[in-house]
């Protein structure tokens, strides 16, 4: 996939604390093509959100990007500072956050916030900006957008607010939208609507999405590709359907096994033993080894990136052999495009 709009190469984000340097993101690489949706999956603390913020240059002190590059249409944006970076944010890469209750300013009208977002990049009249805001609201399926512009955030439901946030992200037709767990705080039915909307937008507008989530069910139904993160590293990547059907990394397998939908009722739900390690105290070699059933003597050394056929990778000494059973689905619906 050489036509990637966003390519992240060996990205490193570190936080300097009194206890030493924490490598929240430690050599993460992935790429997203036009109109594609990449699911960035991991538990809390795996570095998936920090990866999202790093791409937009929104890491605040004491954190910093220590290395690697973020190529947007082939141009490295990690070296941009100040106003140059500001012009990229919102215009070329936009972001949608987790909690729609918190991401809109409660004391400003939706219209005011959207007009400010339009005029941050395009010097147009307030009237023109308002018209664009209205069109963006209509595009994400908000009924009577003109009236919504005069509403305050508290007058809208959570799902509506998240649609507004997505509409704001879409205002400048960015090449990439980073979505940081945007449906986690919503009802399942609303979540479904939003996912369908996002899939449609990706297909119609060609916007690429990086969908950060801990929810494998969401990823399995939405994403084209998956990156599974653990302790700041990508441990497995590949096409979503293949990874879900036949995980190669023991961690991915463990995550999949602990999804209740997959599980036979009445028997004990398997889980990944232990918990995510503290970044300040990572084990030597493979960070997942202490929790891994397949761990062997080699796991005290840093595992190699194993390249498999059809573009899949796993960061493991003892990858799981591929299984060839029929592909399974975690949910009954799928938002993946037919292609």
């Amino acid at each position: 996939m050489s036509d990637a709009v966003l390519r992240v190469n060996n990205l490193q984000t570190q936080f300097e604390t009194r206890g030493g340097v924490l490598k929240a993101v430690d050599g993460v690489s992935f790429e997203v093509g036009r109109g594609r949706i990449l699911g960035l999956v991991g538990e809390s603390g795996s570095g998936k959100s920090v990866t999202g913020y790093s791409i937009l240059g929104l890491i605040e002190a004491p954190g910093r990007i220590a290395g690697g590059e973020v190529l947007l249409n082939g141009k490295d944006i990690t070296r941009l500072r100040g106003d140059a970076m500001r012009q990229v944010r919102g215009a070329q890469i936009a972001m949608v956050f987790q909690d729609p209750m918190m991401t809109l300013n409660p004391v400003l009208k939706i219209g005011t916030q959207m007009i400010a977002a339009v005029r941050a990049h395009d010097k147009v009249s307030r009237k023109a900006a308002r018209a664009r805001a209205r069109d963006a609201l209509a595009k994400v399926g908000i009924p009577s957008p003109e009236e919504r512009l005069d509403a305050y955030p508290h007058q809208l439901s959570g799902g509506m607010r998240q649609r507004v946030a997505i509409a704001i992200a879409l205002l400048h037709s960015p090449a990439v939208i980073i979505a940081d767990e945007p449906t986690t705080a919503l009802d399942v039915s609303i979540q479904g609507q939003i996912l369908a909307e996002v899939r449609r937008l990706a297909d119609e507008t060609g916007t690429a999405f990086v969908w950060v989530t801990h929810d494998l069910a969401v990823v399995s139904s939405l994403a084209d590709d998956i990156c599974v993160m653990y302790a700041g590293r990508v441990v497995e990547s590949g096409p979503a359907a293949d990874v879900i059907a036949s995980p190669r990394h023991p961690y991915t397998a463990g995550l999949l096994a602990s999804v209740p939908a997959e599980h036979e009722p009445g028997t004990k739900l398997p889980q990944v033993p232990g918990s995510t390690p503290s970044l300040a105290n990572l084990p030597q070699g493979c960070a997942f080894a202490p929790r891994c059933a397949k761990a062997g003597p080699a796991c005290t050394t840093t595992p190699p990136v194993q390249q498999f056929e059809d573009g899949r990778t796993a960061l493991c000494h003892y990858p799981i052999e591929p299984v060839s059973c029929q592909p399974l689905s975690l949910t009954s619906t799928t938002y993946r495009s037919a292609s």
Binding site: L58, T103, N105, V107, A116, A117
Partner: protein, 324 residues
């Protein structure tokens, strides 16, 4: 909205009535003003006549009702000392205090909010720490001492400003104001700054605390992710969110400055209401005290009413609650 207004006005009315009773009782309890007013050597007949004239021989509640009745007709009584209608007396002093208090609030706001915003925007910078240190001084150093210091440095040593008193006045809208001339400003600046110092410290801390909180919020992060400039982030998103506590404190401080600028007015010999009330207390000029206190209550109630109305403008969520 109308319902809200009516409700607040009724509340205000209750407060004024309750306060009038408390003030009246309190002042009544401090003793018979006749003893202070007349020569102790005067005879009993004169004494009786005076007591009768001012109605001190009637029962307390009757005196109160006469007082309230007069007040409703715009008559707050006559000063024992100045022999002038109290209302005229107070109103003649009001413009001086009004311009002093407003200038002080203006200084405190125009300096305090930007400094507080900066201290909250860059909380770890050296300049922010210096601002915070200054704000602690602002509200912990006693104002009479700062006033004396200001006079010593800027009036006596440097000779930049006069050491006290009020400049020449011109009549504007029926009020005698001194801020219409440059000379008037030279008189008002020192006492206004002295009066502003405490409020300045307060506003800086309040603004900073709000800014630090809002800067860490998701919507500021989201605004930055939209590519908004830092000026817009602060000017649009931060300022409006921190304005509610600021408006609250502004209102309370404006009220208390108008009513109790006593210390500064005394130090700078400013002919305002504060000096009037202190003088009246010393000589037990009862009508002035009562009228003044009721006026102060009225002032506070009005300011709070305005503050409440502004709340609704600033935060739509409050508007909803008030309507339901």
């Amino acid at each position: 909205m109308i319902g809200f207004l009516i409700q607040r006005v009724l509340q205000a009315l209750m407060v004024v009535i309750a306060m009038s009773i408390i003030v009246f009782l309190g002042v009544y309890a401090i003793g018979n003003p006749i003893d202070v007013m007349i020569d102790p050597a005067s005879d009993q007949a004169l004494r009786e006549a005076l007591i009768q004239r001012y109605g001190f021989d009637r029962p307390l509640f009757e005196q109160y009702f006469i007082f309230m009745n007069n007040m409703l007709h715009g008559d707050l009584g006559e000063s024992f000392i100045y022999r002038l209608p109290v209302l005229n007396l107070i109103l003649s002093r009001l413009p001086a205090t009004l311009e002093l208090a407003l200038t002080a609030m203006l200084i405190a706001t125009l300096l305090g909010i930007p400094l507080g915003l900066w201290a909250g925007y860059k909380p770890d910078s050296l300049s922010a720490k210096a601002i915070m240190g200054f704000s602690v001084l602002g509200f912990s150093v006693p104002s009479f001492w700062v006033g004396l210091l200001l006079i010593m440095v800027f009036a006596v040593e440097l000779g930049w400003f006069p050491s006290g008193g009020r400049g020449p006045t011109t009549e504007v809208l029926g009020m005698n104001l001194s801020i219409t001339s440059l000379e008037g400003w030279s008189y008002i600046l020192l006492p206004a700054f002295n009066l502003a110092l405490f409020k300045l410290g307060l506003l800086i801390r309040l603004t900073r605390a709000g800014t630090v909180e809002v800067m860490g919020s998701d919507y500021v992060r989201f605004a930055r992710a939209q590519g908004l400039s830092e000026g817009k982030v602060v000017g649009l998103h931060v300022l409006k969110n921190i304005s509610i506590p600021i408006v609250t404190v502004f209102g309370l401080e404006l009220g208390s400055t108008l009513a109790f600028a006593v210390v500064t007015e005394t130090v700078f010999n400013w002919p305002g209401m504060g000096k009037l009330i202190i003088d009246s207390i010393t000589v037990l000029d009862r009508p002035v005290m009562v009228a003044y206190l009721i006026l102060v209550v009225f002032l506070f109630v009005m300011i709070n009413l305005v503050v409440d109305l502004i709340y609704g403008q600033l935060d739509p969520r409050i508007r909803v609650k008030a309507a339901s």
